[in-house]
């Protein structure tokens, strides 16, 4: 108590003296506050703001290979966007992106949650098994894509040879346009499970054990305990996992390029791979930028949803 009183007295003493010094001090406070924020602002502007602005500008220019040498990129307004939206591939890639994202997230999250709950019951070797689960994460993507390509090969792939033991005819996993997207989603699910399991598991660790004990006394066990204790307790973790998962899945390029290159017949082409294709294969940098801006807008929508959910959580 005393210390606070002393502080107050000092404050009073300050105010009684002239206003000039007070103003200077306030200015100093003001500056200090900004200095604390400055590193974050500079970081965001340099590493996020600048590239995004550049990307938007590029999407409004006729940016070609010549631009790299001459630095000249004629302004074309919304022509790149018109070309992108007018291309029948736009709808295809949009639908593929949607299916890829929803399919990946639903199963990644479902399986990830199941595994996290499973590992919560400590059993012999559970720690070891849990670290094995991280394996897909540790492998370089290009390497795992190459291995999966071999596993899913129609003629000599491991999966078809295994299915052949049960009399199943060779399945054209990566060759049939109706199956390729499913196969690619499958590989992406495998890739996303460690992320979901790890974060959900750490969320589960934070739920106090006493809650379950108390609930058990009241007869809430199993599903009831999950629904009334676990789920509400980890809801904020869940929202983080899902929103990050969506944003990470939207921009997946490497695994698709490694497995199918967007084919066959564009059946696994997503907005991200199409943007890559336009910019770095066809050298249509303007159109590539326009497509990635569409992708950025979609990601931003999810970021806003995430912020909204978080705020709601904080308000409660």
């Amino acid at each position: 108590m005393t210390s606070v009183d002393v502080g107050l007295e000092k404050e009073v003493a300050h105010t009684s003296r002239g206003g000039g010094r007070r103003r200077r001090r306030r200015l100093g406070d003001y500056l200090t506050r900004w200095l604390f924020v400055a590193p974050a602002i500079v970081f965001v502007l340099v590493f996020f703001g600048y590239p995004i602005v550049q990307n938007v500008v590029m999407s409004l220019q006729d940016y070609t290979t010549a631009t790299f040498y001459t630095g000249i990129a004629p302004w074309v307004g919304f022509e790149n966007y018109a070309k992108v939206f007018g291309n029948p591939l736009f709808v295809t890639t949009l639908v593929n992106t949607l299916l890829f994202t929803v399919g990946s997230i639903v199963f990644q999250f479902g399986i990830g949650m199941g595994l996290a709950l499973f590992f919560k019951r400590h059993f012999p070797l559970s720690g070891f098994l849990r670290s094995l689960l991280l394996l897909p994460w540790l492998l370089p993507l290009i390497a795992s894509a190459a291995v999966w390509k071999w596993i899913l090969d129609q003629g000599s792939g491991a999966l078809n040879q295994f299915l052949g033991l049960f009399g199943v005819q060779p399945v054209p996993w990566l060759v049939s346009p109706s199956l390729a997207l499913i196969a690619v989603i499958g590989v992406n699910i495998w890739l996303g499970i460690p992320f979901n399991t790890t974060i959900l598991y750490s969320g589960l660790q934070a739920v106090p054990e006493e809650l379950y004990e108390a609930a058990a006394l009241d007869g809430a066990v199993g599903w009831k305990a999950f629904w009334h204790i676990t789920w509400p307790s980890i809801r904020s973790v869940v929202s983080v996992v899902i929103v990050l998962g969506v944003v990470l899945t939207l921009k997946v390029v490497d695994i698709i390029l490694g497995l199918t290159g967007g084919g066959p017949a564009n059946s696994t082409q997503t907005l991200a791979t199409w943007a890559y294709q336009n910019s770095f294969v066809q050298f249509l940098f303007g159109q590539g930028a326009a497509i990635s801006n569409v992708l950025i807008v979609i990601s931003l929508l999810f970021a806003v949803v995430y912020l909204y959910i978080n705020r709601k959580g904080a308000d409660e």
């Binding site: 600048y50 590239p51 550049q54 990307n55 590029m58 070609t64 290979t65 010549a66 631009t67 790299f68 040498y69 001459t70 630095g71 291309n87 029948p88 591939l89 090969d153 129609q154 003629g155 054209p172 990566l174 060759v175 049939s176 346009p177 199918t260 290159g261 967007g262 084919g263 066959p264 017949a265 564009n266 059946s267 770095f280 294969v281 066809q282 050298f283 940098f285 930028a289």
Partner: protein, 409 residues
């Protein structure tokens, strides 16, 4: 994009320091000898060391030191674009021939006539077309290649089939050579959704009179229908839509394909396989009166505008040296490709009968960029998209080509 430019700047700075180091090194050892930096994409032996030797020999002839930078094939163009924007282009640049016009259009290359360099007399016409942009020659390929029809001689003999020369013969032969019980297909080619797929389809399209400006024509439709028929007959695997040329070669080497479309660069692998008895013929045409028109492959050497006049002149001499018929033969030995000059190529074919069909094919080969120049990538994309749509049954060949043509502008 910005990130890559920063990377380019860093890479550029490194290049500068490297070349400075190289200069100071050479300065102390050999007086005022200039050092030329040569950039290519030969990252694997034997071609890498083979080319290094030939660069050294040409360097000696023109009185310059040579420093070579090898960039992995897939990233060469992005590297060149970075170097163009950071003004750190090499003195001599190797480019795959369909990229020459694209890069020449940026203004980063210098016309070869500025240094008095001309194509050697007797070079195959397609070589000059591939290296020419808006009437000026920017690049010359010392050796070239194309694709032909390889066949497994033992399998053909066993089935009583002679190497086909027309589509009808090819179709019948492929059907006869297919043995489902052993998992052997009569025919294999790459129909992948990359420029490689386009490159393999072009001989069928071009020989039949198809043209990349408008792919929605009967001639191209017939070619695509032929491709689809081979698959629907069961003579060609449905996996061809995901096979690169390397995959096709693996199938052939493994004895799972009796015939395949591929290039002379596969010869070392094919020769290394024990017990594989093979040969090749030019790709069959629809009618016997048609002439085969295959795409021209091969890498050109170019002189970028680096701003250093003396070095650029020296680089011009270097490119001229590489393209001399005598050097062409040396490079052919290293790479397995065909010398660009017809006389040199004929000499080469005499001592190397395995490349006979390629020597024959390149005479009438066509440069992919001869007609559309820097707009070729758009047409190439439209072509492989149509092939993929037709082969996967998403559209009939006619519809697939009609759809693809709407994007070919």
């Amino acid at each position: 994009m910005k990130k890559s430019r920063i990377l380019a700047a860093v890479a550029g700075a490194m290049m500068v320091s490297l070349s400075l180091a190289a200069c100071s090194g050479s300065g102390s050892s050999s007086g005022s000898k200039q050092t030329l930096t040569v950039e290519d994409y030969y990252t694997a032996n034997p071609s890498m060391s083979g080319y290094n030797n030939i660069y050294k020999q040409c360097g000696k002839q023109i009185g310059a030191n040579v420093k070579t930078v090898h960039i992995a094939g897939a990233s060469l163009i992005s590297k060149v674009l970075q170097q163009a924007s950071s003004k750190t282009l090499p003195d001599v640049l190797m480019l795959d021939n369909p990229d020459v016009q694209q890069i020449a259009a940026t203004g980063a290359l210098s016309p070869l006539k500025d240094f008095g360099v001309t194509a050697p007399k007797g070079d195959v016409p397609a070589v000059i077309k591939a290296g020419t942009y808006k009437g000026e020659l920017y690049g010359l390929a010392p050796v070239i290649n194309s694709i032909a029809l390889y066949y497994n001689a033992d399998m053909l003999k066993a089935a009583g089939v002679t190497p086909p020369t027309t589509w009808a013969e090819l179709k019948a032969a492929a059907l006869k050579l297919t043995d489902k019980s052993k998992g052997v297909y009569g025919f294999a080619m790459s129909n992948i959704n990359t420029y490689e797929g386009t490159w393999q389809f072009l001989p069928f399209m071009w020989s039949n009179g198809g043209d990349e400006k408008n792919i929605d024509t009967t001639a191209t439709e017939q070619a695509l229908q032929f491709d689809v028929d081979l698959q629907n007959d069961g003579s060609m695997s449905k996996s061809s839509v995901s096979w690169s040329q390397q995959d096709v070669n693996n199938q052939f080497v493994a004895g799972k394909a009796a015939m395949m479309i591929n290039g002379p660069w596969q010869l070392p692998v094919l020769n290394a396989k024990k017990g594989l008895n093979f040969d090749s013929v030019p790709i069959p045409t629809r009618t016997s009166s048609q002439k085969v028109v295959s795409p021209l492959g091969g890498e050109t050497f170019n002189v970028p505008r680096t701003g250093d006049k003396t070095k650029m002149a020296l680089a011009g001499k270097f490119v001229q040296c590489l393209n001399k018929p005598a050097t062409q033969l040396k490079i052919a030995k290293v790479s397995g490709n065909v010398p660009s000059q017809e006389a040199a190529a004929a000499t080469w074919a005499k001592s190397h009968p395995q490349v006979k069909s390629f020597v024959e094919t390149v005479k009438t080969a066509r440069a992919r960029t001869a007609e559309l120049g820097p707009k070729w990538p758009t047409a190439a994309t439209a072509i492989y998209t149509a092939v993929q749509n037709a082969l996967t049954g998403k559209a009939s060949p006619a519809d697939a080509l009609k759809q693809a043509q709407t994007q070919n502008k």
